[in-house]
Structure formats: C-alpha cells, structure tokens
C-alpha cells in the first residue's frame, strides 16, 4: 500500500505540473465543453401513470439516479476531426443498468475500451468474469467530425452507489 501511495503521489504531482501545457492550448480551443448534472425524479399520478422529471439535484442519496451531460459545440470556423470525449465516472456512482448498450466504456481505468458486453474483469486469482455496469470506470464517445457551428449533447445515466 505504501508503494502504491507513493506512486500515486508522484503521478498526481506530474499531472498537476503538466496540466499547464494543455491549458494554454485551451485558450485558443475552437471547441467548448459544458458539463451539467440532473437528478431523475420518477413520480406516479393518481391514475398510476409514471412520469419522469429531470431536476436540479437538491437532495440526493444512495440509490438515486443522476444524468451527467456534456454539451459540446464547435465555435470555430474550421471543422474538427477525431473528436473524442472521455468521461471518467466519479467513484461514488455506477453506470446505470439501462445505459445505452452501444456506449463505449472502460472497466480498467481507461486502458482498454469496448462495449460492456465485450469486456471482462480480471479477478485477484487471475481468473476473469464478464464486466458489469458496476465495473465501468470511464465512458467515451467518438465523433469523426464536428462542422463549424455544430453542437450536441452527450449523456450517461448513473446511480449513486
């Protein structure tokens, strides 16, 4: 554990130090990313009809459902290519079971990627099992090109652990 912590500290330090480089590039970025989070409130009316509402998360507890969204826009005058949005899942949430099955995810901290059904988790004894929504550490979207002025929204549903 001690070695692990040292290595982690080193990694984080380098991360902080080196972020200055990309930050400079962002000033001239033709792409904007804007994140938000909504809580999903499911209610039933007197006839038993279910209605789902997205609200600002005011009171949230384990088991509640959140939608994390990222709005993107190409504000430049040139198309951008190979647009890849990576979103690490916050530790306190898990990917909701009804997330899009085609969503590209990682279950190993972003080392390998694929749809969930094609991924496996290696256990401590070296054996593997099929990955589940609980195991997802990252989600990723890839767009070949965003035209100038084009915008869109990317979302994933999560459940608070």
């Amino acid at each position: 554990m001690n070695i692990f912590q040292k290595a982690l500290a080193t990694a984080l330090f380098v991360a902080t130090a080196s972020m200055a480089g990309p930050a400079l590039a962002q000033e001239a970025s033709p792409v904007s990313l804007s994140g938000d989070v909504k809580a999903v409130v499911t209610s039933f009316d007197a006839e038993g009809n279910q209605s789902v509402e997205l609200v600002e998360p005011s009171t949230i507890v384990p088991g509640d459902r959140l939608i994390f969204g990222t709005d993107y826009a190409n504000t430049g005058d040139e198309p951008v290519k190979n647009f890849v949005v990576t979103n690490p899942l916050p530790g306190p949430v898990r990917l909701a079971p009804d997330a899009d099955a085609e969503l590209v995810v990682s279950v190993d901290g972003g080392k390998s990627w694929g749809t969930l059904s094609g991924l496996a988790v290696t256990l401590e004894d070296g054996s593997t099992r099929s990955a589940t929504h609980q195991d997802v550490t990252h989600v990723r979207w890839t767009l070949a090109e965003i035209a100038p002025g084009e915008n869109g929204r990317l979302e994933y549903p999560a459940i608070i652990r």
């Binding site: 990694a11 962002q26 384990p62 994390f68 430049g76 890849v84 916050p90 306190p92 652990r161």
Partner: protein, 337 residues
C-alpha cells in the same frame, strides 16, 4: 500505472499523456473509495464529474476539459432493530433481560431514541420496563453495573453508518403469572434527526449541512422479544413405613419408622441450591447412619458429603442445582421411644 512519469508532455504526445493521466487518477479514486461502497456512499461525499475531449483541427491535436460539476450526497436516515434472543426468554417473577440489536442502515452518523413497549396486544401479562441499557463492554450479555443504563429520553450515542449496537431491555415480571404464559416486549428505535414517510426531507440536518432524507425504513424500526414463563417448583412428598419389634407394622416403642422424602422438580427451568431438610419427630430417636440419598448411604457428619443428620438437628441433604423433571429420594430411619 507506474509508467506515468515516463511521459513527457511535449508536442504530439499531449493526447497520450492526458489519457494516461485519467487512467491513473481515476483508478486511484476508484480503489480508495471501494470500502465505502458496500452499503451506500457516505453522506457528505462529493460526486465530481468532468469530461475531457481530444480532437484535431487545422493546427494539430488539442485537448479541452469541461467544467467540473459537483453534487454532494445527502444523509439517508435508516435504521433496523432485530431481536438477538434465539427464542422466548425463560422467565419467572422478578427480573428478565431481552437483547436487541440496533443498526444504523443510513449513510451518515446518527443517534437513535429507544422506546420499549411492554404492552403488546396478545400478551398473557405485561411486564414493567426497568431500564434500557447498551452493551458497553460488547460481550453480548447484560452485565449489571457495567453496561450503561440509558437515562430518559433513552438515546444511543451517535452510530456511524452501518454500525450496530447491542441493546438490553430489562423488565420486571409481575407475580401471579402462570406457567407457559408469554409476554412480548417491543423495542422501537427512531432517528433523532427525524422520522416519517420515505422521502421526507429535513433541510440542512444532514452531514456537513446537507439535507437528511428519510430512507425506506421510515427512519424507525421495531423488533419484538418474548418472555416465556417457566416456573420451576419442587413437589415434596413424605411417606413412612413401620417395622415393629414383632415383625408387624404397629407403632410401639422399638418400632423402626423409615421416612421416604421424594422431591420431584416440576417446570421447564432450573433451581439452585435445593436443600431437603426434615426434623426428627418428638418421641423418636434418629437411627445413626441411616440417612440415604437415592439409595446411597450418606454419613451423619457435616461437610464430608451432601448430607448430615443428628437426633437434635434432624436431617439435611444439599442437592444443589436441579432441573425440571428431576426426581430425588431421601430416606432415614427413627425408632419410637
């Protein structure tokens, strides 16, 4: 993960570096928070989400981060109470102890108010609550003078999320109860912050000034413990047989009278320190060495075995602890003066 320091953030390597950084940082977060994931994340936990994009424009590969959105996990109020007694507790008039476990099923620290109800519908009799105590020394058994007795309003200390506390309810069983009578005692635990229908919210009452919200249990819980009266008594019968000097059974001087004392233990429980004593009748004399217990001779002297006997003091046999269903027989002889 350890290879991260090998990357140098120049030129086209930026993209590679960024994705590696995510791998390191997020994996670390995931691993470190794993122990809290078993029963729901702790109240006050911050959920922070940031997306990052890489792309190519005319100038090359670039990276952009989104803003970070943060939400705080609120406190969920949930509690369960379970009876720790394996079945009805055997009881008799006097003190009885019932054992319960109160578990904070919420995700934040919470204290609970305890209420014991001795008047449960269907009871054959109702007890009186003497005290509610917590298992201070953690041995699962009520220790008078050791385990802390709660003073009214009986409230536990703050229990951490998922922490369980053993609680004793000490009751007084009234006299006049009959064998096999039962009585239930209900223990109610209520979150101090508040109770109500699931979803009821207490603004600002949670961890770090967050809200507290009532969970599926309603933030209260009850469990029922039972008492079963098992009164144990001893049924003692005395019989005598006579043998006169002439081989008959008349009571004349010189007749030997053999007394047989039969002790039958009745009930489901046990008794401590059962001692059978009897006096030597007037105008008779104890026959030395005639005291017997279940067919075995006991000495007349005191201290060397369970029995002692003398003409002046009578007979005494110390049987000790006995259980329901046991039967004992003591015999001794006297001669008629």
């Amino acid at each position: 993960m350890l290879t991260i320091t090998a990357y140098v953030p120049i030129g086209m390597d930026t993209q590679k570096l960024i994705s590696s950084l995510f791998a390191t940082t997020v994996l670390a977060t995931f691993t470190l928070s794993a122990p809290a994931l078993a029963e729901g994340v702790d109240a006050g936990t911050l959920i922070e989400n940031t997306a990052s994009a890489t792309f190519e424009d005319g100038e090359g590969s670039k990276t952009v981060d989104s803003n970070t959105v943060t939400v705080r996990v609120d406190e969920m109020l949930d509690v369960t109470v379970t009876s720790q007694d394996s079945g009805p507790v055997a009881a008799a008039p006097g003190e009885a102890v019932l054992t319960y476990e109160v578990t904070n099923q919420g995700n934040g620290p919470e204290a609970f108010t305890l209420t014991a109800n001795p008047a449960v519908a269907g009871n054959d009799f109702d007890t009186t609550i003497t005290a509610i105590a917590v298992d201070t020394n953690g041995n699962g058994v009520y220790d008078d003078g050791v385990d802390e007795i709660l003073t009214g309003p009986e409230t536990t200390a703050e229990l951490a999320a998922d922490e369980a506390l053993t609680v004793f309810v000490i009751v007084a069983v009234p006299g006049g109860v009959a064998d096999d009578d039962t009585s239930d005692i209900e223990l109610l635990a209520e979150a101090v912050t508040g109770t109500g229908a699931p979803g009821t919210s207490f603004a600002g009452a949670g961890v770090d000034g967050g809200d507290a919200i009532v969970g599926a249990t309603g933030a209260d819980g009850t469990a029922t413990g039972s008492l079963l009266i098992g009164i144990t008594t001893v049924d003692l019968t005395k019989a005598v047989s006579l043998v006169d000097p002439f081989g008959g059974t008349s009571a004349v001087p010189g007749t030997v009278a053999t007394f047989t004392l039969t002790a039958e233990v009745i009930g489901d429980g046990s008794l401590d320190n059962l001692v059978i004593t009897d006096g030597i009748p007037d105008d008779t004399t104890y026959v030395d060495g005639s005291l017997m217990f279940d067919g075995a001779t006991l000495t007349d002297a005191s201290g060397d075995d369970a029995g002692e006997a003398s003409d002046a003091a009578g007979i005494s046999v110390d049987i000790g602890t006995v259980n329901g269903g046991d039967t004992f027989e003591v015999t001794f002889d006297v001669t008629i003066d």
